[in-house]
């Protein structure tokens, strides 16, 4: 069996699904009105199977990520994210290990620092900060014993993150960016490496071509980029040289936005992976979901 650290990159792929608004793979600075709720559900299918260790290792992580956003004031929005995860590892020789269950709960806030509005346009900058609580099961076992931490539904650790998010939205489309730093802590003799990431999203309205006063639904073409750098993890205090590294995803997608509902789908394609040692490389991430305004 490969060391847990070789699978550590799997964890970060679920981290971006906090977003209550415009981009598909990360957050936004667009408003959540005071007293308003937004619910987002997103299916995320992740496959990592490009095994540089030639052990035929393939890991699938299927997740349903639920997000609830609440506008606490005109500037402060609160978010809660809870994934339901199904993880499976397959290895040459017929080894198969799996788990499923609720993952870790993430709670965070976003405060709008700057806002400039015009007719049919807005420019906003916000700060985000949050914590991830170890609510998921982190001591699941199978016939081979205790599952490695990256295969557990929960990490067992209290983690935190801070960042800034900016959005420029017009009636023709928008541009969004987010810069975050996630600090990991140790649990069960394992500590995932801290993660820095830069996310970019460009959206263009493709329908309707020309706006009418009655236009109340848009279809957007979406192109996103995710640059993710993870530091090496440690196992029992020892640095795992087969973990961490840098991955860049290019993410084409499509989004339909009406007054009450947003439907969206995207595929994250890893165009650059510079991972340490025999860390498992990512093949793709598929995302599809919806958001509902309440």
């Amino acid at each position: 069996m490969r060391p847990a650290g070789a699978l550590a990159s799997l964890i970060i792929l679920l981290a971006p699904v906090h977003a209550p608004a415009a981009p598909i793979t990360f957050s936004t600075a667009l408003p959540v009105g005071e007293g308003k709720f937004i619910n987002r559900e997103q299916l995320v299918f992740t496959r990592s199977g490009d095994d540089p260790g030639n052990n035929g290792l393939v890991v699938d992580v299927d997740a349903l990520v639920s997000v609830l956003a609440y506008g606490a004031s005109e500037k402060l929005a609160l978010f809660a994210t809870l994934p339901y995860l199904k993880k499976e590892l397959r290895q040459s020789g017929g080894v198969r290990r799996s788990s499923k269950g609720l993952g870790d709960l993430t709670i965070f806030g976003r405060y709008t620092l700057f806002q400039r509005d015009g007719i049919g346009r807005t420019l906003r900058l916000g700060a985000i900060a949050g914590i991830k609580a170890p609510t998921g099961d982190d001591d699941e076992t199978d016939a081979l014993g205790r599952l490695p931490i990256p295969l557990q539904s929960g990490t067992g650790s209290w983690d935190s993150f801070i960042g800034v998010v900016a959005s420029s939205e017009t009636l023709r489309g928008g541009f969004h960016s987010q810069l975050t730093y996630q600090a990991k802590t140790a649990a069960n003799n394992f500590e995932a490496g801290d993660v820095s990431r830069l996310d970019l999203s460009w959206q263009r309205r493709v329908w309707p071509r020309a706006l009418q006063p009655s236009s109340n639904a848009f279809l957007y073409g979406v192109l996103e980029a995710n640059i993710i750098h993870s530091r090496k993890s440690t196992v029992s205090g020892q640095v795992n040289d087969n973990s961490g590294g840098t991955t860049i995803f290019i993410t084409p997608g499509i989004q339909y936005a009406s007054k009450k509902l947003i439907l969206e789908a995207a595929v994250q394609i890893p165009v650059y992976q510079d991972l340490n040692g025999t860390a498992l490389e990512n093949d793709y991430v598929l995302r599809a979901g919806f958001r509902v305004n309440y």
């Binding site: 408003p31 009105g33 308003k36 509005d117 009636l171 009418q212």
Partner: protein, 103 residues
Amino acid sequence: MKKLIGSVLLFLAMSTAAFADGTQYRMRVDGLACPYCAYGIEKKLGKIDGVEKIDVDLNNGLVTVNVAEGVTLTDAQMAKLFTDAGFTFRSMVTVPLDEKKAH
């Protein structure tokens, strides 16, 4: 007899129209950049007693609200409503609905 029924129906129709007269408020609101954004303000406006119709023209940043007779919206009230919703209220013009019909 037919003339009598016709006259009664005409009178009833005119009476209904008279009772339906109210006020139209046309508001300039900045920051409305997508349909999904607009829903929040429609919902907030819809909670005000007497609001009968809401139209959001994203292209021109215009929110038009028809209210029943006797109902008044104030600049301060609308400024707070739109600020709370995350947008910027610029101005409001009042047009009596009966005057609008006359034109």
